[in-house]
């Protein structure tokens, strides 16, 4: 079973993403900000991180920068998401693999998740039971 870490301060968004990803057979971990996200990474290395941009305590780009600086998590792919457009955020973020502008449709998210996991399998993943 593949593991996805969802990092977002918005309670409603997290609830929706958890339900959608679990329905597809993923194991889902959550964190409410970037700092907590890094702690969760240490506890359970995921195959993919889906992170919001704007969050209290530590934003998404800062968390991703910390991941990329750490050899243990450098290879974990990241989907960044935000209500602001990617163009406006690009100069503030680096090291992400895909971007989703909120609000998005769940099929679009699942498609992005499947595509990224297919081309960059995570270190803890067990590919045979990975959802498509």
């Amino acid at each position: 079973m593949r593991t996805v870490l969802v990092v977002d301060d918005e309670f409603g968004t997290v609830e929706v993403l958890v339900a959608a990803l679990e329905d597809e057979g993923y194991r889902v971990l959550t964190a409410a900000n970037g700092r907590r996200g890094l702690e969760r990474l240490e506890e359970n290395k995921p195959d993919l991180v889906i992170s919001d941009f704007m969050m209290p305590l530590m934003d998404g780009p800062t968390m991703v920068a910390a991941m990329r600086a750490d050899p243990a998590f450098r290879g974990v792919p990241v989907i960044m998401m935000s209500a602001a457009p990617e163009d406006a955020l690009r100069k503030h973020m680096d090291g992400y693999d895909a971007f989703l502008r909120k609000p998005f449709r769940i099929p679009a998210l699942l498609q992005a998740v499947a595509a990224i996991l297919a081309r960059a399998p995570g270190p803890t993943s067990e590919r045979p039971d990975a959802p498509v």
Partner: protein
């Protein structure tokens, strides 16, 4: 101890919403904590966001923290069509975060830490806390809640960050937060028969004067458009009224003669008469002498600009040409759901913007229709007139009488005549088996005029005033007649004399 002698003067933080800054006498005070309250649907979130984007546009940084479970993604989607919404401001200068889970997991202490960090981390000079009511619900005691509000105040003041707390309002009559914060802005939707009017009221504003009472507003694609109540906004004219008596032509030479040289310049004047008598025609002729140096405005609530232009053409007035040269502006506010104060401000803005010298308002009845409280009309006209006169406009307002014929010749409002420096009465009267138009000047304050009743006609050249109406009486009743010869024996005792 050494005193540096510095007086800490609180700086203003403009909201960037012209009407609101006028009401607040310049804006909020830096480092102050303000409640914006109102039931759902009154526009709190839009107002707060509009203030945020305006603050960013003037160089500030903002943190917007929501304690509500709902996503601000949806909120931003709703804001995107608004003209104040500038995508490029997010996230560098305007940062949205949710504090919902912090409140859930760490309580009020966690929220205070969050607010402090967000202010510091984003160098925020403005902070919005949406869902403030949830903090009271989360407090274990009234004491803890008061402590929370106090801490927000302390951090705001220390970090010179102005704070807006958005809430649906408290059910209690006097809540502790209301006594503690620096100001309260109350938003309300009020139903008047079939229409709703939105209003804003300042409940409290420490350290500053403000315009009292309820001020109407609209929410449009530009966000909140707030119209400070005319009686409060212009209680004292915004410019000094340097008045020196002189006359101004009405554009109708024969009427100028009757008036003793024209209307008194920089005054308010009424033109009273029934439908179809020629009030709008007068207005068009009044504006015909306008030039770029002496511009005029037709502020109409009834006829469209196209119809006015066509009508002017039949009178030989090239209205389109006057407009093209910038001599005349037609402002048309077709009757719908107007806000009385909005109309008043549009008039003042129109006069101020072009230095208007001649303003014709057509007409009074539509202004009354737009008033949710018609009892305001006399005060409204009085303060509006004072401002327009101080701005050097000579105003003529048409007023329609209820009856086409008949004896009633009362002005629409009690006390209105005393506010007008000039009053021209137009009537229909039946004479010699024909309906005829008559005009009389009833009032030109402190000046001489010809009080005689005169016939007038509307010809291809416009209004033509004829000679005085001799040999008839009761013409203003609508039924002119030759004077009765009364026999001495018909008079009551004591009144008998030769007739």
């Amino acid at each position: 101890m050494t005193s540096h002698g510095n007086t800490l003067k609180l700086e203003r933080v403009p909201t960037g919403i012209a009407g609101l800054d006028r009401i607040l006498c310049g804006g909020l005070l830096s480092g102050g904590v303000y409640i914006i309250e109102g039931v759902p649907g009154t526009g709190k979130t839009i107002l707060a966001n509009q203030i945020c984007f305006n603050h960013v546009a003037s160089g500030g940084h903002v943190a917007f923290v929501t304690l509500l479970a709902e996503s601000h993604t949806r909120m931003l989607q709703h804001l995107q069509p608004m003209t104040f919404y500038k995508e490029e401001a997010i996230p560098e200068r305007l940062y949205y975060v949710s504090g919902f889970r912090v409140l859930e997991n760490e309580g009020l202490k966690g929220v205070i830490d969050l607010l402090r960090r967000e202010i510091k981390g984003h160098q925020a000079s403005l902070l919005v806390l949406d869902g403030f009511a949830t903090t009271e619900e989360s407090a274990s005691s009234p004491r803890e809640f008061k402590k929370f509000v106090h801490e927000v105040q302390s951090h705001a003041a220390a970090m010179e960050c102005t704070v807006l707390l958005l809430t649906n309002g408290s059910e209690r009559e006097i809540s502790p937060e209301y006594t503690m914060v620096d100001g309260v802005i109350h938003l309300e939707n009020t139903l008047f028969e079939h229409r709703t009017e939105r209003t804003l009221q300042i409940g409290k504003f420490r350290g500053s004067d403000f315009l009292p009472g309820r001020h109407p507003f609209r929410i449009t694609g530009r966000g909140h458009e707030i119209f400070p109540r005319v009686e409060a906004a212009f209680a004292v004219p915004t410019v000094r009224d340097d008045y020196s008596p002189r006359r101004q032509s009405t554009g109708i030479a024969s009427l100028d003669e009757v008036l003793g040289g024209g209307l008194l310049a920089e005054t308010s004047n009424g033109l009273y008469g029934p439908t179809g008598i020629g009030k709008t025609t007068f207005g068009l002729q009044y504006l015909a002498p306008c030039s770029e140096r002496e511009p005029g405005t037709f502020f109409g609530l009834f006829e469209s600009p196209e119809r006015l232009r066509a009508r002017a053409a039949t009178l030989g007035i090239d209205l389109r040409g006057l407009e093209r040269r910038g001599a005349v502006e037609l402002i048309w506010c077709p009757q719908g759901e107007h806000i009385l104060d909005e109309l008043g401000h549009r008039m003042v803005d129109a006069v101020r913007r072009r230095g208007v010298k001649r303003l014709f308002i057509d007409g009074y009845g539509a202004l009354v229709e737009s008033a949710t409280d018609p009892g305001r009309m006399t005060r409204f006209i009085s303060t509006l007139g004072n401002e327009l006169r101080a701005l050097k406009a000579t105003v003529v307002i048409s007023m329609e009488s209820r009856n086409i014929m008949g004896s009633a010749a009362e002005l629409p409002e009690k006390g209105l005549s005393s506010l007008l420096e000039g009053l021209i009465l137009m009537r229909y009267t039946e004479l010699d088996g024909r309906i005829q138009r008559v005009v009389s000047v009833t009032k030109i304050r402190d000046s001489g005029f010809d009080p005689s009743l005169r016939r007038f006609e509307i010809t291809s050249g416009g209004i033509q005033i004829g000679g005085a109406l001799h040999g008839v009486e009761a013409a203003l009743s609508g039924f002119a007649r030759e004077p009765r010869v009364v026999a001495a024996e018909d008079l009551p005792p004591g009144k008998r004399r030769e007739v």
